[in-house]
Symmetry: C2
Subunit: 324 residues, 2 copies
């Protein structure tokens, strides 16, 4: 079992790599090689099988061809220019999210082996301009360029699968909270910051109204579902290759309330509120309630409570106090 | 009012050009120049204003840039590699339908003027894998590469409009019946052949069951709606820039019955029946019942009966008897 994670340097990619290292197998076969590729060389991870790291710009077709040529059984495509960045720099977003995804699919098409390709799409493919809740067969009518590029990747994945070039599975990730580390250029970044920074003793800014709803999943559930999505049989997925991963609907206010419950009043005091119209407009355009029939049928899992998500962050991902 | 029709050599493009010539104006302004561009130089048409014809391969970015640079107020993008051809030759379909559409949008993006861009998408963007009837907000889950490429064009058109690069209007055309002339490589071609050939005294082959349903519109209604779509105000369309044009649901059997009513038993005898599994599979994957709320709100029109469609073909498009 040879596995390639494109976007393997990112936070989800690294967690997925460690989960695979821990399991040692995927789709019933022992892992013989795990490769992590990203725009900046990913951090190595410890495993009982060989792990290699690669610098890869997916917008460069020859680079993509070279790495895909190494016969992978399962490829994860998690690489993307994130939402606020793709909105600020249209060309950069198209380059990576549109052409990068196309390059990966084309590299797979021209090979004899048909890899399982797990593609990370996003809840940002959907919008609030259509009847809610979102179903697996609701139109993707994204109101960001990032969401548009993700939705195009879904269509390509579906057609490349139908034609037998790949065995594709496109999954729309909820906003993943709590992300460890530093804020990034995703419009959703603050959903993690308002929990992470106060817990680590730093101030945080909340740029939206506390009534703002969000569709989210924990890192643990997201990674577990990415593993399960690769493991299910192709036939069980059927003709519609793209579907939403399970998430939970909550509000910024409820998230802060859970933070207070877990960590106390002093911690919550580190969160300031100042609306940012740019972030607010992007986030308001995202759906916060999705039905996930296909994912549920396939046995994917969901978070039970936001309190537990905070506790998991404290246990697994919080910055050690002495590095503050 | 300067108008460019890309795909202006095709049957719909030529009819649209003649309709514009007859009107003499669009969006309340007299037409000063109409340009017809196509992969093979289009036929000229008679008009009271200048008409030019151009050879254009939309997959060639420099050719697209050169023609788009000529400041058009309204651009129609009707050019495509059709369904059966895009299914048989994946690369050809991607080249024209995917990159060609991208090239047109990119050429518009890098200009100061924001043209009205009317994009011909297709009912083939939809499939029967989702709840019927299709609504304007049902997911495009195409089961052909042609439909996939059209649906990707829709997503791009929507995002380029949202960002202010174009004023885009993407319309999903029903199968247009009765097409004049010769059969083409569209999987839907036979829907016209089974009416056109017998009326012109030639044999025809029906490759599907007579119970097969189809969502269709006449050339007259299609062209009238393409004019109207260019005329409506951008704000009236709203955030969802892609929607279905009105059509009628009928069956192959009902179409043949109407042919018999209009033209008699002898004519119907020219239609032979032999199932073609390739054509059948494509056509069965298309939705035949669509709700067209947005189009109806915008004042677009629909056909009343298939009998009238046949009569219009006989009056306007039938090959003269002496050229048989």
């Amino acid at each position: 079992m040879r596995i390639l994670i494109i976007g393997g340097g990112g936070f989800v990619g690294q967690k997925l790599a460690r989960a695979i290292a821990e399991r040692g197998s995927l789709r019933g076969t022992a892992v013989s090689h795990l490769a992590l590729a990203d725009i900046v060389g990913p951090e190595d991870i410890a495993a009982a099988f060989p792990v290699t790291t690669h610098t890869l710009d997916i917008a460069e077709r020859d680079q993509v061809d070279a790495i895909i040529a190494q016969d992978w059984d399962v490829i994860y495509h998690l690489a993307a220019v994130v939402s606020a960045q793709a909105e600020a720099d249209f060309v950069a977003g198209m380059r990576t999210n549109f052409f990068g995804t196309f390059n990966i699919l084309e590299a797979c098409r021209t090979r004899v082996e048909v890899p399982v390709l797990v593609y990370a799409s996003s809840v940002a493919s959907f919008s609030t301009d259509v009847p809610q809740p979102i179903q697996d067969w609701t139109a993707t009518t994204p109101q960001t360029s990032y969401g548009t590029q993700k939705a195009i990747g879904e269509l390509l994945l579906s057609d490349y699968t139908r034609r037998g070039f790949i065995d594709g599975r496109g999954v729309r990730l909820p906003t993943v909270v709590v992300r460890p580390g530093k804020p990034n250029a995703a419009a959703s970044s603050f959903f993690s910051s308002i929990i992470r920074e106060p817990l680590q003793g730093d101030p945080a800014m909340c740029p939206v109204d506390v009534e703002q709803e969000v569709w989210l999943a924990s890192p643990r559930v997201t990674v577990e579902n990415l593993v399960r999505v690769a493991e299910v049989e192709s036939e069980a997925i059927g003709a519609l290759r793209n579907f939403s991963l399970p998430g939970m609907t909550t509000t910024v206010g409820a998230m802060l309330k859970a933070l207070e419950t877990v960590a106390g009043e002093n911690v919550i005091g580190l969160v300031d509120h100042e609306r940012d119209p740019v972030i607010e407009k992007i986030v308001q355009g995202w759906s916060s309630t999705l039905l996930t029939d296909k994912a549920d049928e396939l046995g994917l899992i969901r978070d039970e409570s936001f309190t537990r998500i905070i506790e998991e962050f404290i246990a697994n991902d919080m910055r050690p106090a002495d590095s503050a």
